[in-house]
Amino acid sequence: MRLRAIPAGAWIGLAGIAAVAICAIFAPLIAPYTDRQIVGGVWEPASARFLLGTDNLGRDLLSRMIYGARVTLAVALAATILSFGLGILLGFAAAVSGGLIDAVLSRGNDLMMSIPTLIFALVALAILPKNLFVLVLVMAVLDSTRVFRIGRAVALDVAVMDFVEAARLRGEGPLWIIFREILPNTLSPLLSEFGLRFAFAILFLSTLSFLGLGIQPPAADWGGMVKDNKDGIIFGISAALVPGAAIAALVICVNLVVDWLLRRTSSLKGGRGDG
């Protein structure tokens, strides 16, 4: 792949994601203060000392944004990876085995999907203990229903090919068929789907945090910061808009990259190669 072939939109997306990732990794080195330190008055406007002003408790907003990137990114990424592992494994197993296993898994999946995701998450998180691991798990399980659908569909396309039949006739087991025959041929559509689900995970986490069931204070995360500062909007304080804008920007960046990946994938599937 040549670097010049990457369109401008994808470059913007990649740059945005890289910037957030750098903030997340090197947060203690970049941030002027820590995320929990009260360093000024409540809702101070932007100044040389506080580049983005302070929040509802007088903490530096910029520092909290930088630490928040760390939490938001890590949780969303962990949830997406877990949901992919689960969804793909079950989806492929359903596609390859067919019959009863497929029916049970697919109908179980439909059952899960018939309950609105947000309500399901609110109930589950209200009952279960509030820690990061449970949060990631709940997000992953709910999201894996969508991945299951996609994984099963793309695997079914490949599973009917003659080379899969040839592997079956050789006597290969299901693991070889899933991981060596089918998975390599579905990687590109799954990769772009991964990006899309990652964007949804960021939004979902922000929603949960805004509702008070996601990341718990005093840890910083972008959705929670919108919630903390939302009352300021009434008084003309824009502190809530900064994390809100950051969420929007990150999701757009991820989508730009995914769009580009999708176009490359579709052109691989017999397009005219103009992607």
Binding site: D162, F163, A166, L169, R170, G171, E172, R180
Partner: protein, 541 residues
């Protein structure tokens, strides 16, 4: 009389995007010139990639995909259509020049009645009133020998057979009364018996309407029946161009001679056909509780020999292969391997039973995993069945590659980097790696060009000699049967209608179906079509 169509020094190019390399300009067609008078038929013949379809489309001033016409002239009644503007070209297409594609099923919209689609272009160009166009369509249905011409057009595409659909598409092209029709492999996707009907209908319609035609095909025997002149193409250049009689009876170039004589040698059948490595005993089978696709099929394959299964599409020959491999357990009957019955389902067979029966598919494209290299593709059965690994495995893969006449240079190539013939050879090597007793060949050459197919058949014959493997060879091509098989089974609607030694099965007296099947195989001489049709009208002769 002035020529209708004159093509002068046509050059066509395209931008190629080879994987991993910068795009480059390639020449598809170079320096092609020909003339076509009114009412005459020119046959364009060549392998895939010879540029015959590209030339056909150029007479409609069209280049498919990234194809560009880079030079030369296409004169239609003295006007160079390549220099016309978009609007004039559009007025030309579907009115004065029409096109008949290979796949009629893909060319018709399944949601509309045939008659509306047949007259659509004519109405769009404003050539006739709706009533006149309908009347002409019905007249054309009649000429093309379609059943019940007055109401045939009221049917939907799925309600007619493939051969009828192809004739309906010919009617669509003839409807505006064009000066020129381009036929692009109109009978290639059809069975031999259907091909004969469509060919006869097309020939008759051309004679009656007096249109000129360009007939594109890779089958010289077919083009010999319809064309006045023949142009043989290879790699975008003209090999030979002349009257049909001269090309068929006295070809001037080696390549043409190879095509004409591609009706290979005949294999002397094995004298001793007793014993059996594989026996099929009264097998009936069907899909998902529906009607049986196979009815009481019993066959025997002697060791080291070849049994050819012949039949049209839908005759159940591929289903038979699925039963033997265990993909479709039969409803009744048994499959015996060296005298012992095999478990009906592949899932119940042990590794050794699976190893001894291998399968070669029709489409090597889909039979090889595109994300595995040749080394992995051929190496997997070696590791799986014999536990070979490392250097020993590589050595054996190299040995197999040499056996299929490809070198170790191909070890790390992906299927996309191989030609069609090479892919099929790799598929053969993969089957061979399992050291099987039987290889089921499901039309392994029908998707390949004639000369490439001949190479594959020679390879299979040599492997039979060297390894003593037995073949069950599924085909619809009786030429292959003569060249390759020891015994034959002819299938029709799920039943074996005739079976036995090749010499006995393919000589008279015939049953009705076998006689019809044999009569439909085009012969490489002029006038064959007329004789066959005359024989058919007067079956006592």
């Amino acid at each position: 009389m002035a020529e209708l169509l004159s093509v002068r020094d046509l050059r066509i190019g395209a931008i190629s995007h080879p994987p991993g390399e910068p795009p480059r300009e390639v020449t598809l067609v170079e320096g092609v010139s020909f003339d076509l008078a009114r009412g005459k038929v020119l046959g364009l013949i060549g392998e895939s990639g010879a540029g015959k379809s590209t030339i056909g489309l150029a007479t409609l001033a069209h280049g498919r995909g990234g194809v560009r016409i880079t030079g030369g002239q296409v004169l239609l009644d003295g006007t160079d259509i390549l220099s016309l503007g978009r609007r004039d070209v559009n007025r030309l297409r579907g009115a004065r020049v029409c096109y008949v594609a290979q796949s009629a099923a893909a060319a018709f919209n399944p949601a509309h009645r045939l008659i509306d689609q047949v007259i659509e272009a004519t109405l769009l160009r404003g050539l006739m009133s709706r009533e006149a166009a309908r009347a002409r369509a019905v007249h054309l249905f009649d000429i093309l020998g379609l059943p019940d011409p007055a109401s045939f057009g009221d049917r939907f595409p799925h309600q007619v057979s493939g051969g009828q659909l192809q004739r309906a598409m010919t009617a669509m092209a003839l409807c505006p009364n064009p000066a020129l029709i381009v036929f692009d492999e109109p009978t290639t996707a059809l069975d031999v018996t259907t091909q004969l009907d469509v060919l006869a209908a097309i020939k008759h319609a051309i004679e009656v309407t007096g249109t000129a035609a360009i007939y594109i095909t890779h089958d010289l025997a077919v083009v010999a029946q319809v064309a006045d002149d023949i142009m043989v193409l290879r790699h975008g250049r003209v090999v030979e161009y002349g009257p049909a009689r001269q090309i068929i009876d006295a070809p001037g170039k080696d390549y043409t001679r190879a095509l004409v004589s591609a009706q290979r040698t005949t294999r002397a059948e094995a004298a001793d056909q007793s014993g059996a490595v594989l026996e099929i005993d009264g097998v009936s089978a069907g899909y998902g509780g529906g009607a049986n696709v196979l009815e009481g099929v019993s066959l025997r394959l002697p060791k080291g020999q070849t049994l050819a299964i012949v039949g049209e599409s839908g005759s159940g020959k591929s289903t038979l292969a699925r039963v033997i491999t265990g993909l479709l357990p039969p409803a009744t009957g048994r499959v015996l391997f060296e005298g012992a019955p095999l478990p009906p389902s592949a899932a119940r067979r042990d590794r050794d039973q699976l190893r001894r029966i291998q399968l070669i598919y029709q489409m090597a494209d889909t039979a090889l995993n595109p994300r595995q290299t040749v080394r992995e593709l051929i190496g997997r059965p070696l590791g799986f069945y014999f536990g070979l690994r490392g250097a020993a495995k590589t050595a054996r893969v190299t040995q197999l590659l040499e056996q299929i006449e490809m070198g170790r240079g191909f070890l790390d190539r992906y299927p996309a980097e191989l030609s069609g013939g090479q892919k099929q050879r790799v598929a053969i090597a993969r089957a061979l790696a399992a050291e099987p007793e039987i290889i089921l060949c499901d039309e392994p050459t029908s998707a390949l060009d004639p000369l490439v197919a001949e190479g594959i058949l020679r390879l299979l014959a040599r492997l039979r000699r060297e390894t003593g493997v037995s073949y069950l060879f599924i085909t619809h091509d009786l030429g292959i049967v003569r060249a390759f098989a020891d015994s034959v089974a002819i299938m029709h609607r799920g039943k074996v209608v005739r079976a036995g030694r090749k010499s006995a099965a393919l000589s008279p007296p015939f049953d009705a179906y076998t006689a019809r099947l044999l009569a439909c195989v085009p012969e490489m001489r002029l006038g064959w079509l007329e004789e066959t049709l005359a024989m058919r009208k007067d079956p006592d002769q």
